[in-house]
C-alpha cells in the first residue's frame, strides 16, 4: 500500500470518528429518527379498524415507507451544520478526495440514524402482526436498503442545503428516486411470505446499494458545489 | 376513401355510449393545446410591458435630470444677475 493510500485511509478514519463523536454528543440525532419511526408506524393501525390479517399484509409496506421517511428526515441535518459554519466550503477546497469523504460521511450518518431503525424493525413487525416468515427478510432488506436510501436522500440534502426551508422540497425530490429501493425492499418480505426464493431479490437490493454507493457521491459532490457558491 | 362511421350527428356525439370519456379526453387535450399557445403570448405581453415600464422610467429619469439641469442653470443665471 502506498503512503498516499494510507493517508487517505487515515483521513477517512478521522472523518468517521468525528461524525460518530458528533452524533453521540447530541443523542437526539440517534433517538429522534427512531422515535419518529416507532410513533409513525403505530399510527397506521389507529387510522382504521383493520384485522390482524390485513395488518400483516400491509406491515412490510408500512414499515418500509416509514423507514424511508425517517431516513430522509434524519438526512436533513447531514450537511446543515457544516454549511452554516463554513467547514463545507473548506472541505470542497481541501486536497482530500471529496468522493470518498462523502461516502464515509453518509456511511457514518447511516450507522447513527439508519442502523438503529434496522435493529428495532422486528418490534414494529410485532405491532403490525407481520407473519413469522417475514422478520428475517424485513431486517435483511432494511440492512441493505437503508444505506442506499441514505445515499439517495443525501443527494436531495446536498441540493437543498443552501435553501432556507427545505423539508417538504426534500421529500418531493427524494421520494420518487427511492421507489426502486422501496419496491425491492418491501418486495423481499412479500417474496418470503409467498414462499418464493429470495436470492434474486437480495441480489437486486445489493446491486441497488452498490449503484447508489458508487454513483450518488458524484451527484452529492456536484450538488454541494452548487449549494456553496 | 374511408366512410363516416356514424349514422347521425347525435350518434357521433354519443360515441357509442362513451361520450363523457371520449369527449372528456379530447377536451383535456384541447385545453393543453390552447394553454401551450396562450401562456407564451401572455408571458410575452408581460415582458414587453415590463420593458416598456422600465423604458418609461428611464425616459422620466432623463427628463427630470434635464429639468434639474435647466433649473440649476436658471438659478445660476439668477445668482449671477443678483450679483451683477
Amino acid at each position: 500500500m502506498s503512503r498516499s493510500a494510507l493517508g487517505l485511509a487515515g483521513s477517512l478514519g478521522t472523518t468517521l470518528q468525528r461524525e460518530l463523536q458528533l452524533a453521540f454528543s447530541s443523542p437526539g440525532r440517534i433517538v429522534n429518527p427512531l422515535m419518529f419511526f416507532v410513533i409513525a408506524v403505530s399510527m397506521f393501525p389507529l387510522g382504521g379498524r383493520m384485522s390482524a390479517e390485513v395488518l400483516g399484509t400491509i406491515a412490510a409496506g408500512v414499515i418500509w415507507v416509514t423507514a424511508l421517511l425517517a431516513v430522509m428526515l434524519s438526512m436533513e441535518s447531514l450537511f446543515r451544520s457544516d454549511f452554516d459554519d463554513g467547514s463545507l466550503e473548506q472541505l470542497l477546497l481541501s486536497p482530500q478526495p471529496l468522493y470518498f469523504h462523502l461516502q464515509v460521511k453518509v456511511l457514518a450518518h447511516w450507522l447513527v440514524t439508519g442502523l438503529p431503525l434496522v435493529v428495532i424493525s422486528p418490534l414494529l413487525g410485532l405491532l403490525l402482526h407481520l407473519p413469522e416468515a417475514g422478520y428475517g427478510p424485513l431486517m435483511l432488506g432494511l440492512l441493505l436498503g437503508t444505506p442506499a436510501l441514505s445515499m439517495i436522500a443525501a443527494i436531495g440534502t446536498a441540493l437543498t442545503v443552501g435553501l432556507a426551508r427545505s423539508g417538504l422540497l426534500l421529500a418531493v425530490l427524494v421520494l420518487p428516486l427511492s421507489i426502486p429501493v422501496l419496491v425491492f425492499g418491501a418486495g423481499l418480505v412479500d417474496t418470503a411470505l409467498n414462499g418464493l426464493p429470495l436470492t434474486g431479490v437480495v441480489a437486486v437490493l445489493a446491486a441497488l446499494l452498490v449503484l447508489a454507493g458508487t454513483l450518488a457521491p458524484l451527484a452529492i459532490g456536484a450538488a454541494l458545489r452548487i449549494s456553496v457558491h | 376513401m374511408p366512410e363516416f362511421r356514424f349514422d347521425s350527428f347525435s350518434d357521433f356525439l354519443a360515441m357509442g355510449g362513451n361520450a363523457s370519456f371520449v369527449w372528456g379526453s379530447y377536451l383535456a387535450f384541447a385545453l393543453v393545446v390552447v394553454w401551450n399557445f396562450w401562456q407564451p403570448s401572455l408571458e410575452r405581453a408581460r415582458i414587453v410591458r415590463l420593458m416598456r415600464a422600465r423604458q418609461g422610467k428611464q425616459l422620466q429619469q432623463e427628463a427630470t435630470a434635464a429639468d434639474l439641469r435647466s433649473h440649476q442653470s436658471a438659478q445660476q443665471q439668477q445668482g449671477e444677475a443678483n450679483r451683477g
Partner: protein, 249 residues
C-alpha cells in the same frame, strides 16, 4: 451542420432562426392534428372489443410518449448545460419541464378515461401507468427545485443535477415496477394497438402523433423565445427588437 448547431446554442441566433420557423411548424402541426382528429373520431372503424372508446388512443399514446421523450430532452439539455455551460441548453431544459409535465399529466388523464369503460377502473398499478406517474413526480421535483432558488444560475445547476440523477433512475424505476407487478399478479395488461389492425386505424395515429410532437416543439420554442427575451433584456438587440415592435403596434 456543426456550425448550425453551434449557432443554435446562442440565444440570439436561436431567437432569430425560430422566428420564421414557428408559423410553419404551427400550421403543419395543426393541419395534421385536424386531419388526425377528424379521421380518428369520425372515420376510423370502431374497435370490435372496445367500441368507440378506443378513439381516445389517438391522443393518449402520442401525449404519453411525447411526455417521456420530453424528460429525455430535459435531461440531455441539463447534461449539456452542466458539461459545456451552454446557456441555450439551460433555457430549453427550463421550458421543456412544464410542457412535458402537462403532456405526461394528459397521458395519465386520458389513460384513466380510457381505462374506466375498457377495464372498469380509472387506475391500476400497471408498470407503464406507475412509471408515467413517477415521471410526472420527477418533472415536478425538477421544477420545484429550480423555483426554490433565488439565484437563476444556482437554481438551473441544481435542477440539472436532479434531472440527470432522475434519468439514471428512470430505467431502474421501470424495471422495479415491472418486477413488482409480476409479484402482485391480477392487474390486466394494457392491450396496445397490434400491427394486425387495418391502416384506417393506425394512419390517424401517425397524424396525431406527429401533430403532438410538432405542438410540443412549438410550445418549447415559444417559451424559449420568451425566456431569451427576459434573460437578454438588457442587451442591445432585444431593446432594438422590442422598440421595433412597439413602434409597429
Amino acid at each position: 451542420m456543426w456550425q448550425w448547431l453551434y449557432k443554435l446554442g446562442s440565444p440570439r441566433h436561436f431567437y432569430e432562426m425560430t422566428t420564421g420557423l414557428v408559423p410553419w411548424l404551427t400550421g403543419v402541426s395543426l393541419l395534421l392534428l385536424a386531419a388526425g382528429v377528424v379521421w380518428g373520431l369520425g372515420f376510423a372503424p370502431p374497435d370490435y372489443q372496445m367500441g368507440d372508446n378506443f378513439r381516445i388512443i389517438y391522443i393518449h399514446v402520442p401525449t404519453s410518449m411525447c411526455g417521456m421523450g420530453a424528460y429525455v430532452l430535459l435531461a440531455t439539455m441539463a447534461a449539456m448545460h452542466m458539461i459545456w455551460n451552454i446557456k441555450m441548453a439551460d433555457i430549453v431544459a427550463k421550458v421543456s419541464a412544464p410542457v412535458g409535465a402537462a403532456y405526461i399529466a394528459l397521458g395519465l388523464i386520458t389513460g384513466a378515461l380510457w381505462g374506466k369503460p375498457t377495464w372498469g377502473t380509472y387506475w391500476t398499478w400497471d408498470a407503464r401507468l406507475t412509471s408515467s406517474l413517477i415521471l410526472l413526480f420527477l418533472f415536478l421535483g425538477v421544477m420545484a427545485l429550480r423555483a426554490a432558488y433565488d439565484s437563476e444560475s444556482a437554481g438551473s445547476k441544481a435542477a440539472s443535477v436532479l434531472a440527470i440523477v432522475g434519468v439514471v433512475n428512470v430505467p431502474i424505476i421501470y424495471f422495479s415496477v415491472q418486477w413488482w407487478n409480476t409479484l402482485h399478479q391480477g392487474t390486466s395488461k394494457l392491450g396496445g394497438a397490434g400491427s394486425a389492425n387495418p391502416p384506417e386505424i393506425w394512419i390517424p395515429a401517425f397524424f396525431t402523433g406527429f401533430a403532438v410532437i410538432g405542438l410540443f416543439f412549438v410550445a418549447v420554442i415559444l417559451r424559449s423565445r420568451n425566456e431569451i427575451l427576459y434573460r437578454e433584456r438588457r442587451t442591445q438587440w432585444v431593446q432594438d427588437l422590442l422598440q421595433k415592435e412597439l413602434t409597429h403596434a
